[in-house]
Structure formats: structure tokens, C-alpha cells
């Protein structure tokens, strides 16, 4: 009898555990966002987080975008030349980058670079009692540590994606003109003909959502880490894995919401 019920028991436990985790994460997000409404306004910390998340992530995001644009141009040329549709390459590159690859690749890069760093920073503070020390100094640790990072994530990712959009198109342009022999004017014409403000804006909206998710998960996992250095390492790993999956899941949901209507 027990053998028959065991799968259902395990399934039930898994579902309840997942729901409990989702509920705790949602409440944590609300606490973090509610910090915006209360003084003091930690402007200097927000600026420092913007620098860390936005400016210092520029090189890795820029390189990823340039090579992605270059690869799309190259692969599209190989496939489209069978149908004599090579002139569509500029449009394919700009649509792929602005709609999907810009936000998703920038999100994944930032999840690896920043999500893990946030989880490690806050996790180290947790296991060395620095978060408890904040509380004893009449400072709300969520408002002090989480709120500035959430704000910085929401603001920095769209900026990074805008740069990624421009550099991704530039990467495609370099390969198309430099290697495949396209006319620069023709390539730019097809690019601008396929460039729609709606695509760019939805891409930036996706980026803001991804920025929120990455910083939220980093803060949540770090804030709740325990068990010394090993616990901090687990928090960093969990942040990268969870935020990468959530980026792809939310990308699907937002694409379904904005592009299939």
C-alpha cells in the first residue's frame, strides 16, 4: 500500500515545497519593493549598484552581442543563399537581436556575473552576522541591502540591452559587409526597414523584468543562506541556475503576451 501511495506523497511534498518557496520569494520581493516608499533613500548605494550591475557588465555583454550578431549574419547567409534571400540578412539580425537575443543573452550574462556576486556578498554578510548587526543598528537589512539592488537591476538591464542591440547589429554589419561582400547602404536599408520601435521597447521591458529577477534571486538566496562558506557557494549556484531558468521562462511568457496577439 505504501509503495502505491509513495509517489503521490513525494509529489505532494514537492508541490507544497515549491509553493512555499514561491510564496516566500514573493513576500521577500514585496518587502524589497516596499523599501522604495520609506526613507532614508540610499542613493549612494543605488549608484554603486548601478555601476556594478550596469557599467562593469558592459564588456561581457558587448562582446556577447557583437559575436551573436556576427554568427546570426553568417548562419543566415548560409541558409538563405539556397533561396536567394540573402538580402533579408539585415532584417533577420536586427529582429533576432532586438526581440530575443539582446535581452536573453544580456540577462544570462548578468545572471552569471552579477546574480552570483550578489548572492555571495549578501550570503557572506549573513553567515558572519553582518545582517544581524544591521538590525541591531536600527537599520532594516532588506531596505538597506535588497531595495537598492532591485532598483539597480531594473534600471541597468535595459541600458545594457540597448547597448547589446546596437552592438549586435554592428556585429552583423561587420560580417555582412566585411566578409560576405554586402553593400553597406543596402545592409543598413534592410536593417532599418525591419527595425520596429515596438520590438525594441518590448525587448527593454523584458530586460527590466530579467534585471528584477536576477537581483531578486541573488538577494533572496544570499539573505537566506546558512552553513558557512559552503552555504554561500550553494546560494551563488542556486541563483545562477534559478535566474537562468526564470529568464527563459519569462522570455516565453512575455513573448507570448506581446508578440502573438
Amino acid at each position: 500500500m505504501r509503495a502505491l501511495t509513495l509517489p503521490f506523497i513525494l509529489l505532494g511534498r514537492g508541490v507544497l515545497g515549491g509553493l512555499r518557496h514561491a510564496g516566500a520569494l514573493s513576500l521577500f520581493a514585496l518587502r524589497g519593493l516596499a523599501g522604495v516608499l520609506r526613507l532614508p533613500f540610499h542613493g549612494q548605494i543605488i549608484l554603486s549598484c548601478l555601476l556594478e550591475i550596469g557599467f562593469l557588465s558592459l564588456p561581457v555583454v558587448a562582446l556577447t552581442a557583437i559575436f551573436s550578431g556576427a554568427v546570426i549574419a553568417l548562419q543566415s547567409y548560409t541558409g538563405f543563399s539556397h533561396y536567394h534571400a540573402q538580402n533579408a540578412i539585415g532584417g533577420i539580425v536586427v529582429m533576432s537581436i532586438t526581440k530575443e537575443l539582446g535581452p536573453v543573452l544580456a540577462g544570462l550574462m548578468v545572471a552569471g556575473r552579477i546574480g552570483a556576486a550578489i548572492a555571495a556578498q549578501i550570503g557572506a554578510m549573513r553567515v558572519t552576522d553582518q545582517i544581524d548587526a544591521l538590525s541591531t543598528l536600527a537599520t532594516d537589512p532588506v531596505k538597506y541591502l535588497v531595495t537598492p539592488r532591485l532598483i539597480a537591476g531594473i534600471l541597468a538591464l535595459p541600458f545594457l540591452v540597448l547597448v547589446a542591440d546596437i552592438l549586435g547589429v554592428a556585429g552583423g554589419f561587420i560580417v555582412a559587409v566585411g566578409k560576405l561582400g554586402f553593400s553597406p547602404a543596402l545592409y543598413m536599408h534592410t536593417t532599418f526597414a525591419s527595425l520596429h520601435s515596438h520590438d525594441v521597447l518590448v525587448g527593454l521591458l523584458k530586460a527590466a523584468v530579467f534585471g528584477f529577477l536576477i537581483t531578486l534571486l541573488g538577494c533572496y538566496e544570499g539573505y537566506h543562506s546558512r552553513g558557512g562558506a559552503e552555504g554561500v557557494g550553494r546560494a551563488a549556484t542556486a541563483t545562477v541556475v534559478a535566474s537562468s531558468i526564470l529568464i527563459l521562462a519569462f522570455d516565453y511568457l512575455l513573448t507570448d503576451l506581446f508578440f502573438t496577439a
Partner: protein, 277 residues
């Protein structure tokens, strides 16, 4: 003057205790760590709580500080139950408290000076930046550290110096209640004596109320006016710290004299309490 009944002792006291705890309970799953703590901490005195590892001493401190929500009980500061206070009121009460953590818990992203300035600003200390910096240097001087350590990062300091900086930060804003979580753990005997001296001077010179958690008997008798022992989730003994080494209670005597044989099974001293977050 010893008693096994803290509540009976309270009835004989004329002054209201600065900190009063009644029936405090906290469990993690099916493991009860605090099982009805009754404790009075008199104002302007130094109280020491001793007990073995894993007996919930640090958990008790965290409950008092509001870092962990107890399952039931009363924690009063000057007659006001902080567990029922609004968040704003609780923050105001916390503003009267200074805390030195076991590992000092200095913010490692800040310099020594900024750590102390953070304490001053968090406690609402007024004045210009220059005045606050001067106040921070005064606090450093009070704990026996020169201005040369102000620009250093906490990682550049020895354990004893970190404890002293932690004490300077705890003293920022002139708190009238000070908590010390195992202040001499990991320090050599000379540095332990220095830290003990600083704690005693906070009580005698500043008139603060101090509550220290420790299992260092030398330190407990040196800094304590009153002492209590936590065992099995309860305060099983309290009395003058001067009688700590000769309490007449077999559990306290076994612990203070470090005997293997006695009513405390050695297996109960190995488990570490899970304090959660």
C-alpha cells in the same frame, strides 16, 4: 544569596528590572531550545549568562534583539513588551541597545571609521560629518585604539582589535543597554582581560546595563555583578557572580569547574543549536 526561582526573586526586588523575560519559548521543529526562560536584568548592573554550547544562549540574545521571533513569552524593556510593540516602536527600543557580536560582525565593505560612523548615523547622532568623525575617533580612543586604525579595513585587524572596533560601534549613540555575545572567545588571556575591562568600564563609567553571554568563567566572574545559568532550555540558577564558582548547585558547579562527571551528560554539550534566521 542564590535562588532556583527567578520569579520569587523578582518579587523581592524593589527596583523594576531594565530587562524582564517571562516564559520565553522557542522550538525548531520538534527540538525545544528555550523552554520557558524567566530572567531579570537589573538596571545599571552587569549580568552574565553562562551555559554550554548548544544550550540556546545566543538564541536567547537573538530573541531579545528581535532577530528571531520566539514562540511565546514576554520580553520587556523598562516594562514595555517589545514583542507586542509596533515595528517603529521596536526600532526605537533597539536604538537604545548596543550589541557586540561574537565575531564582531564588522561590515567588511567599510573602513573601521565608516563602521563606527554607520553606528552613529543609524542611532540618529546629529552634527556635521566632521563632528561625527571626531566622535568616532573618540569612541576608538575609548576602546584603546588610535586614529591610525580608522582608515583600515576590518580584515587588516587582529581578532582583539576587531572586537574593540565592534565595541566602539556598539557604543555609538550612547546605548543604555549593552549585549555581549561571547566577547572573549578566541582571544588570548591578555586581550580577554582588556575586553573585560572595557565591558566593566561601560557599566561603571557610563552607567549602562550589560548582559553578557559567555562560557569563559574567568571573564564571567570578572565582569559580572549577577550571573545566571541556562541549561535544558531554562534558567536553572541565578545569583551574585561572586558565588558562581561556589554556587551549591551541582549542575552549575560541574559546569563552572569543568568536571566531566556530574549531572550534565557530556553528550548534551556537543550539539549546536540551530538559530535559524
Amino acid at each position: 544569596m542564590t535562588t532556583s526561582s527567578p520569579i520569587a526573586r523578582q518579587d523581592t526586588m524593589t527596583d523594576q528590572p531594565r530587562l524582564r523575560i517571562r516564559g520565553l519559548k522557542k522550538s525548531f521543529g520538534d527540538r525545544t531550545v528555550l523552554n520557558g526562560i524567566d530572567l531579570d536584568v537589573p538596571a545599571g548592573k552587569s549580568t552574565v549568562i553562562i551555559g554550554g554550547s548548544g544550550n540556546g544562549k545566543s538564541l536567547l540574545l537573538r530573541c531579545i534583539l528581535g532577530l528571531i521571533e520566539p514562540d511565546e513569552g514576554i520580553i520587556e524593556i523598562d516594562g514595555e513588551n517589545i514583542l507586542r510593540a509596533s515595528r517603529r516602536r521596536r526600532e526605537a527600543l533597539l536604538g537604545r541597545i548596543g550589541m557586540l557580536f561574537q565575531n564582531a560582525a564588522l561590515f567588511d565593505s567599510m573602513s573601521v571609521l565608516d563602521n563606527i560612523l554607520f553606528g552613529l548615523q543609524a542611532k540618529g547622532s546629529g552634527g556635521s560629518r566632521k563632528e561625527q568623525e571626531q566622535e568616532a575617533l573618540n569612541l576608538l580612543s575609548r576602546v584603546g585604539l588610535g586614529a591610525h586604525v580608522a582608515p583600515l579595513n576590518p580584515a587588516e585587524l587582529s581578532g582583539g582589535m576587531q572586537k574593540r572596533v565592534g565595541l566602539a560601534r556598539a557604543l555609538a549613540g550612547r546605548p543604555d543597554i549593552l549585549f555581549f555575545d561571547e566577547p572573549t572567545t578566541g582571544l588570548d588571556p591578555i586581550m580577554s582581560a582588556v575586553i573585560d575591562g572595557l565591558i566593566s568600564s561601560c557599566v561603571t563609567r557610563l552607567g549602562s546595563t550589560a548582559l553578557t553571554i559567555t562560557h569563559d568563567m574567568t571573564s564571567a566572574t570578572r565582569i559580572g555583578d549577577h550571573a545566571a545559568m541556562l541549561y535544558g532550555g531554562k534558567i536553572i540558577w541565578q545569583g551574585p557572580a561572586s558565588t558562581l564558582m561556589d554556587s551549591g548547585n551541582p549542575i552549575v558547579d560541574q559546569f563552572t569547574h569543568g568536571r566531566r562527571e556530574g549531572p550534565i551528560p557530556t553528550s548534551s554539550m556537543t550539539a549546536s543549536s540551530s538559530t535559524g534566521n
